[in-house]
Assembly symmetry: C2
Homo-oligomer: 503 residues x 2
């Protein structure tokens, strides 16, 4: 053993007692992971107190006394810290602070130097980088779409499936870099349990797993887009479509709608692709009839365009009530079918799929590989198990029942508090589309509602930017319990009256 | 109660006994989820036997007897099936097969009709859709890179973190569609625990979470690419780089290397961006010295190009042994730093990040939003917790120790079995880069090795396609235990001798 230097002795004296730990945040004894909390307290204290490298650390007994925990808990914490390289044992004389605990971490010297590099002139892609969604505030009633709803998320069953996906034999399947492949169990479950509900028969080579519906749309727009092509998109329609097509310099043609969805005929002629949300038109919720779907496919064949069928919220439709998917009809060989699987369960999971001809799927797979290889394997496997065990089907039934109750409550409240107003809603859609009186402005209305604790979405982003339209709002019941809807709409109606009276 | 029709009575008689269940696959009683297995057996039997809608189902007692399970297990299974809508209770007279169990599922009527739609002429993006990686076979020794290694994956701790990420309060954070935001806890953990190890100081607006390093490269190539721009890429270098740059029609300039990585000077002049793996050059594993990194930044400033620093495998370097990241050096404002976080833990998780100027991050975020919105929230949160609890640091230390042992075993084996051969390896890299004698061909060598149960990667894909070079192989120790390396290399040397002797 080397003799201790004066410096070392000084270090040992000042930090060995553990008194510096008592100034820490108290432990939360209700959680039951005291050793982990102890690790965090020690790490935080080391940083806060700027304890020097080589300083002698308190014994496990001293840590236990300082924090009021058992000796065993303190031991487990020290073991973790040693394993982390924060502490080191030396010559049986106790533990010391090892160098690796000391990243020289200072705040705020990162580069914000626009002047030097002039970033804006280097971007070759013209792209608006401002987020458009309203900030979510603490609120009385949120009629915003796409938020997570803890009241219908099947947390116990999802946990069970994640746990199963984490068994050693399962990890062997999803843990590796599979380059461009999808989870084979998820593909099988889609084929046998999900797609037949929509009347779609698919082989594995017809299926690609995507990161939500958004990625399906992106891949199609990249693969079939370009300055020489024209894409028809619904108007009003999904907000990001025009921007996404801009990325591949595709020319965009807005398509007019009626109560049955997009209007067929002349306006589609000359398009190379058309992007349609026939299941529930976004945002008007119109459901395209079986007859129009068949006629659309006829026209697509005659005028030689590709139909991109985006199944926005069709899963919520009660079993058997929805018209068959376009991809299930005769003549559907020119249909590319895009769906989201995780929207209902938890949008943050980001899982969707595309059904198309094998040569289309192969190209999309190659492109996806260059973008990010493949979607995370653990989520694919957990979702596959979730479907396999019948939980997805059970969850859908429950979600349908819950959503149906909320839709009824919403329709009743709108009739009561907005008599004579123009609003659209087709059965099974979680959103309502409502006209705002001329001159009021949907943004002003939303701001006025927000001041009363009610969040609604201004509808401007569903229209072409050049139109500058601001006369519709979108109301969703996807994350508000039925019992709060009536009162939320009552408050919204008050805000509405305020706005109208100010005209 | 409505009187039963003749048809209904017939249905009841034929399926109520439960005898049709006994022909099923036997239960696996070692697993302990008998009620779930029972659900699956009933579902499979209904499909297999084409049981008609409305048929009366066996009682729970009959199911229990047929399958040799407890009455309670049968009851739980029936409850699940009722909840799924497969079975329905009617008027206390038992359960019946409900219509929803009957997707009309036939095999193989999906469209493969190239003739009708002529897909190939419609693709605007030229893209090779063939996968290039060798198929993984049962094998004696795999020296392939990027496979999952169960022996170092911290399964218990990862499970703990996924479980914590699934607490109700955590799901509220990641479950929703956050549009374009990243997990705030993961950002904080990167700033305080991961980036300081590389000497990088970053604010939240400097950071974007990506789906692995691949997505970082894709976003940069889209944002700064185009027919008017030139990108320098290492040669040999990462396989997908040239293809990815092709997508944005960027002109590609191959950059020559020496033992210290890319050679500075004339060859970089005129480039708009250069993509470099300075940490460990892929595939040669060369580590660029501190001096050359500084000189590179000087040249980047003089010649006005952007440096994309791709930190391939730098995390494996033992603490303090690696040169500081380019993003930590003076003049780094023109550096875009790309990293993978999940490569080591489990490549299938797909999590990485980009560090860059806030205006670059804002553009990348806007583009990522159009591609797929955001990376899955649950994985971001689980990884954040994994880092917060100190498990990431502990895991790195363990992985470093394991990899170091494997690298030593590999170097020893190569010296013994390939005396005088030309192979490259810098400390901390999990791969080795080896010259194949002229005329042998790396593909032929890999095939010969595979026939002996040893998998190695032919190196052709790291070179420009036009070069058609086939004279290097890549050997990785990322997923082979140290004790098997010597014998694997001995077998590989036999295959090598065979190939040479056939010349």
């Amino acid at each position: 053993m080397e003799p201790a230097t004066t410096e070392q002795r000084k270090l040992s004296r000042s930090w060995g007692s553990g008194r510096w730990l008592t100034q820490s945040e108290p432990l939360d004894r209700t959680i039951g992971n005291l050793h982990i909390q102890t690790v965090q307290i020690v790490l935080a204290a080391i940083k806060r107190q700027r304890i020097p490298e080589g300083a002698r650390m308190p014994s496990t007994r001293a840590i236990a006394e300082s924090l009021g925990i058992s000796r065993n808990t303190a031991k487990r914490a020290v073991e973790i810290l040693v394993e982390q390289g924060v502490l080191a044992s030396r010559n049986r004389s106790g533990t010391y602070l090892a160098s690796s605990a000391h990243p020289e971490f200072a705040e705020d010297t990162s580069d914000d130097s626009d002047d030097i590099v002039e970033w804006p002139r280097r971007f070759t892609l013209k792209l608006n980088s401002e987020s458009e969604l309203p900030t979510i505030r603490p609120t009385y009633a949120s009629f915003l779409y796409g938020q997570f709803d803890a009241s219908i998320f099947p947390i116990g069953r999802w946990r069970e499936c994640e746990r199963s996906a984490l068994s050693v034999s399962e990890i062997q399947n999803w843990g590796k870099d599979v380059v461009d492949e999808d989870d084979s169990l998820l593909i099988e479950q889609l084929r046998s349990e999900v797609l037949p509900r929509h009347g779609i028969l698919a082989r594995p080579e017809n299926i690609l797993i995507t990161l939500g519906g958004q990625q399906g749309r992106y891949l199609v727009s990249q693969l079939f887009g370009g300055a020489e092509t024209i894409s028809g998109i619904e108007h009003p329609g999904m907000p990001d479509m025009a921007k996404m097509l801009d990325l591949s310099r595709t020319r965009v043609r807005p398509l007019a709608l009626d109560e049955d969805g997009v209007i067929l005929g002349e306006q589609m002629r000359g398009c190379n692709t058309v992007f349609l949300t026939c299941g529930h038109q976004c945002p008007t919720t119109a459901v395209m009839s079986h007859e129009r779907r068949a006629a659309l496919l006829d026209q697509a064949h005659r005028d030689d365009f590709i139909v991109v069928e985006d199944t926005f919220e069709t899963e919520i439709f009660a079993e058997g009530k929805y018209p068959p998917a376009m991809k299930s009809l005769p003549g559907s060989e020119r249909v590319i079918h895009i769906a989201s699987l995780s929207k209902l369960i938890a949008p943050g999971l980001r899982i969707g799929y595309v059904i198309a001809h094998p040569s289309v799927i192969a190209k999309m797979r190659a492109l996806r590989r260059l973008i990010h290889r493949h979607p995370p394997g653990n989520n694919q496997r957990a979702l596959a198990i979730f479907i396999e065990r019948g939980y997805y089907r059970a969850f859908l039934r429950r979600a349908q029942a819950v959503m149906s109750e909320r839709q009824d409550a919403m329709a009743t409240a709108l009739r009561r508090h907005f008599p004579g107003a123009d609003w659209r809603h087709c059965d099974g859609a979680s959103t309502f589309w409502m006209k705002v009186p001329d001159g009021v402005g949907s943004r002003a209305l939303a701001a006025s509602a927000a001041a009363r604790g009610v969040l609604v979405e201004p509808g401007g982003r569903y229209f072409h930017k050049e139109d500058g339209r601001d006369d519709w709002v979108r109301l969703s019941v996807s994350s508000i319990v039925a019992s709060r809807i009536e009162d939320g709409i009552r408050r919204f109606a008050e805000a509405h009256r305020d706005c109208v009276s100010r005209l």
